[in-house]
Symmetry: C2
């Protein structure tokens, strides 16, 4: 079985190499630059090898997105738990929002992969992959504390929309960058509401 095990291990390594290279290339030059030809060239294999690992380019993007979702979740989770062990709702929301916006700013291509390109990845659905569910729960954990009379899941959805909107509008150059801190404060203030 050693032979087959080695093959599987090598294949898994190449699988990871493809994803890491795709992500690298996307962050460096944008997803438009991630063509199957260029990606194949980078990993020093021919195009069909990519298709032996993934059903197509969309699947590669989705795989990068899924990894990224787990990372984003982890970043938010850590920020909330590390920085504010049992702080106020306001502080928790601020920590969450900061971590979310920071991660999106530092990983724009992966963020796009998660939210703009992976049209096949569903949320709030029986087929929703675990990392996406976990991401929502990481947000909900914080917003449940400031939901007041509102349904916490619904508030989380609205809050998430606000964060996501800030990310996309900022990146598109629609919002002046210098007021980002002011927007953060307004966001925290309004989302926390009277429960702060």
């Amino acid at each position: 079985m050693t032979v087959q095990q080695r093959k599987e291990r090598d294949r898994a390594a190449r699988h990871r190499l493809i994803l890491a290279t795709a992500r690298e290339l996307a962050e460096a030059e944008g997803w438009d630059a991630v063509t199957t030809r260029r990606l194949a060239g980078r990993i020093e294999y021919s195009q069909p090898v990519l298709y032996s690992h993934f059903g197509g380019k969309d699947e590669i993007v989705s795989a990068v997105a899924l990894e990224g979702a787990a990372e984003l979740t982890e970043a938010v989770h850590r920020a909330v738990h590390a920085a504010v062990p049992d702080a106020s709702g306001t502080a928790a929301v601020r920590a969450l929002a900061t971590a979310y916006l920071d991660w999106a700013r530092e990983n724009p291509a992966v963020y796009d992969a998660i939210f703009s390109m992976s049209t096949g990845l569903r949320f709030a659905d029986e087929a929703t992959p675990a990392p996406l569910r976990a991401a929502f729960e990481a947000l909900d954990e914080v917003f449940a504390r400031v939901a007041g009379s509102a349904d916490s899941g619904t508030l989380t959805e609205v809050a998430w929309a606000t964060l996501h909107g800030l990310v996309t509008l900022t990146r598109a150059g629609r919002l002046p960058a210098e007021y980002a801190p002011a927007r953060l404060e307004v966001l925290v203030d309004r989302l926390v509401g009277a429960a702060g």
Copy 2:
């Protein structure tokens, strides 16, 4: 001069035909289906004619986006002024949000053209086209009423981000459609804050 005038008129008509056809095709089958070949076929001219009107496909998308921005602005403006002559801030915000979300739902392709595809169209910049400035001002007019101690422009930006986030997350299947009304109420409640 009659000859030249006629030519200009015909050219302007064809210009509009291109934009209307592009928009139609995009709404019917998505922007991926709007190829220069298909678009040229629909208007019954060859591809180079498109390039005599626009610098490239991006310019066509941007032109559709600009028209759409004016429409969206008009829809929001009308909803706010017609439905609530001098109603509460809450009612005004609800009317605005409803109009915005409705328009986005009914014109998904144009909405994408405005916010996801026209990377060249800048906001909050000296080169910002008038329709985009007007859109922001239509929102700001309402949110200034409920800004309280916050800077109204900043609140408008955050509110806009929330609306935009709801649009994109909903369309990507990230938010369950059946709770859209609940999200609207939470959005209104939180954005209006204590100034309601």
